[in-house]
Point group: C2
Chain length 290, copies 2
C-alpha cells in the first residue's frame, strides 16, 4: 500500500499543473490581474482541500479526474479567503508562507480584486468543466452554502466580533465550524458529488469533514502553544489572549479531543468503498499539523 | 399599453419584497453580517439589471417569476461590486445615493466581508430556486464569466491601470464593455436562459446588452459634463481628466453615438416575441440617465 505522503505528492503534481493552466497570459490587457491571482494561487501550500475532494471522489469508486473542477474551485475559494484575510482592513499581515502577502506586492486595490476574481471564477470553473449540469449545480450549492454568509464568511464575522471578549465554548465551536470547517465540508462533499455517490455518502462525508475540521483546529491551537516555530515554518504563540480551544479546555483535554474527533471522523468512512487514504489522513491529523 | 415607468414600478415592488426576504434575522449569531448586506442591498436604486432580466424572460414568452433567482443574483453581484468599489483601497467614497457607504457605517473589515458574502451567496440563490439544473448551471456560467476576471473584475483592473495615463479609444471601450457592460450582458442573457429561449435569442440578448451598455456609459459621460447635479441626484464634473467618451470624441459625436447604439440595441430585438418594454427602455436611455 502506498503511503499517504506518496499518494498526496502524486495527486499534487497533477493538480499543480492544472492550477497553472487556469490563468495563462495570452496577452490579455488584464494580465496584471492574472499575475496577482497566480501569485497567491501558485504559492504552494499542502493543498489539503483539493486532496480531500479527490480522495472522496476515489472513495466512492470514481476516477480522481472526475473531481478536477471541484478541486480547482475549492482551492480558488481558499486562496481568495487568504488574500482578503491578509488585507490591512482584516488581519493586516505582511507575510504568508514566507512570501510577501498579495497586497504588499500588488497594492490593496489589485489584491482585493484578485480575491474577488478568484471567488467569482471558482463558480465558472465548476460549471465549465466535464461535470454534468446536475452535479455541477449541486457543487455550486454546497460550495456557496459553506463559503458564504452561512459558512466561512459568516464565521469570519463571528471571529471579528469575538476578538475583544471572552467567548463561550459554543461560540468558539461556532466560529470554527464555519470559518475553517466550512471549506473542509465543501471539499469532502463535492468529491462525493463529482463521483455520483449516494445521499448517505454525502452525509457521511459531511460528518467526516466536521470531525476532521475540528481535530485540525484544535491541533492548530495546541501547536501554537507547544510547537517549534522552525519545524512548523510559522510563528507560534500568536494566539495569546485569543479564544482558542486550549484556553477554554487546557492542553491535556485538547489532546484527548483531537484523538476523539479523529476516531469519529474515521467511523464515518464505513459508507465508502475504499477508506485507507482518508483514514490515514485523519490519523495523521492526530499527531501533526497540515 | 402600460408605460415603461409603470411596468418598471410594478416589477420593482415584487422584487424589493423578494430582496427583503433574503437575509431576515432569525437570531443568527452573524446577524451583523446580514445587517451590513441588507444595508447596501436594500438601499434603493433603479434595479436596472433585474428589470432587464425580467424583461428578457418575458420577451421570450415566459412568466417573469421564472427569472426571480437570476434577478436576485445579478442585483447581489452589482451590490457587492459597489461595496468593494467604495472601500478606501479602491475609490474611497464616503457616500453613495446620499447614504453613508457600507464601510463608513460598519467598518472596512465587515464591509469587505459583506461584499464577499453577497458575491458568494448570489451563486447559492441561483442554484437553490426553482430553476432546473441545466438552466441554473447556464446562469452560473454566464454570470461568473461576465462578473469575473474576464468580465467586471478584469474591467476594474483595467480602469485602475488607466487612471494615470491617456487611453486609446479601444482601451476605453475595453474598460466599458467589461466593467459596466459585463453585468448588463449577464442580466439580459440570464433572462433568456430562465425562460428557455433559443441560442439565437441568447446571442440577440448579448447584442442588445452590448449596445445598451455602451449607450448607457456614453450617456453617463455626457451627463457628467452637461447634467444638473440637483436633477441627477449626484455630483457632476467628477470625470474631469478621466478617460471618458466625451474627452475622446467630444459632446456632439457622443450624442450621435448614443442614438446609434440605441438603434442597434433595438434592432437586436427582432428575435423576440414581445419587444415593447425593451424598445422603450433603450429609447429612454437615449434621452436620460438610469
Amino acid at each position: 500500500m502506498k503511503t499517504l505522503h506518496d499518494t498526496w505528492q502524486q495527486v499534487n503534481l497533477r493538480f499543480e499543473a492544472l492550477l497553472k493552466e487556469l490563468y495563462l497570459d495570452h496577452g490579455e490587457p488584464q494580465a496584471l490581474l492574472f499575475e496577482a491571482m497566480n501569485y497567491s494561487l501558485l504559492a504552494g501550500g499542502k493543498r489539503l482541500r483539493p486532496f480531500l475532494t479527490y480522495s472522496f471522489c476515489q472513495a466512492v469508486g470514481a476516477d480522481a479526474a472526475r473531481a478536477d473542477s471541484a478541486a480547482l474551485a475549492i482551492e480558488m475559494i481558499h486562496t481568495y479567503s487568504l488574500i482578503h484575510d491578509d488585507l490591512p482592513c482584516m488581519d493586516n499581515d505582511d507575510y504568508r508562507r514566507g512570501k510577501l502577502t498579495n497586497h504588499k506586492v500588488y497594492g490593496e486595490g489589485i489584491a482585493a480584486l484578485a480575491g474577488d476574481g478568484l471567488l467569482t471564477d471558482a463558480f465558472r470553473v465548476l460549471t465549465s468543466g466535464s461535470l454534468d449540469a446536475a452535479k455541477a449545480c449541486a457543487c455550486v450549492r454546497v460550495l456557496s452554502q459553506n463559503a458564504g454568509p452561512w459558512g466561512m464568511v459568516g464565521g469570519q464575522v463571528l471571529d471579528i466580533l469575538s476578538e475583544s471578549r471572552t467567548c463561550t465554548r459554543q461560540e468558539v465551536l461556532d466560529v470554527q465550524s464555519r470559518k475553517t470547517g466550512g471549506l473542509i465540508r465543501a471539499a469532502c462533499q463535492m468529491g462525493v458529488i463529482c463521483a455520483g455517490g449516494s445521499d448517505e455518502m454525502l452525509r457521511a462525508a459531511g460528518t467526516y469533514a466536521d470531525h476532521l475540521g475540528l481535530a485540525f483546529q484544535i491541533r492548530d491551537d495546541i501547536l501554537d502553544q507547544t510547537g517549534d516555530a522552525a519545524l512548523l515554518g510559522k510563528a507560534v504563540g500568536v494566539d495569546e489572549g485569543k479564544n482558542t480551544f486550549v484556553r477554554l479546555y487546557g492542553l491535556e483535554a485538547c489532546e484527548a479531543m483531537v484523538l476523539e474527533q479523529t476516531e469519529l471522523a474515521i467511523n464515518a468512512l464505513a459508507a465508502f468503498r475504499t477508506q485507507e487514504v482518508l483514514t490515514e489522513l485523519a490519523r495523521n491529523m492526530a499527531v501533526r499539523n497540515h
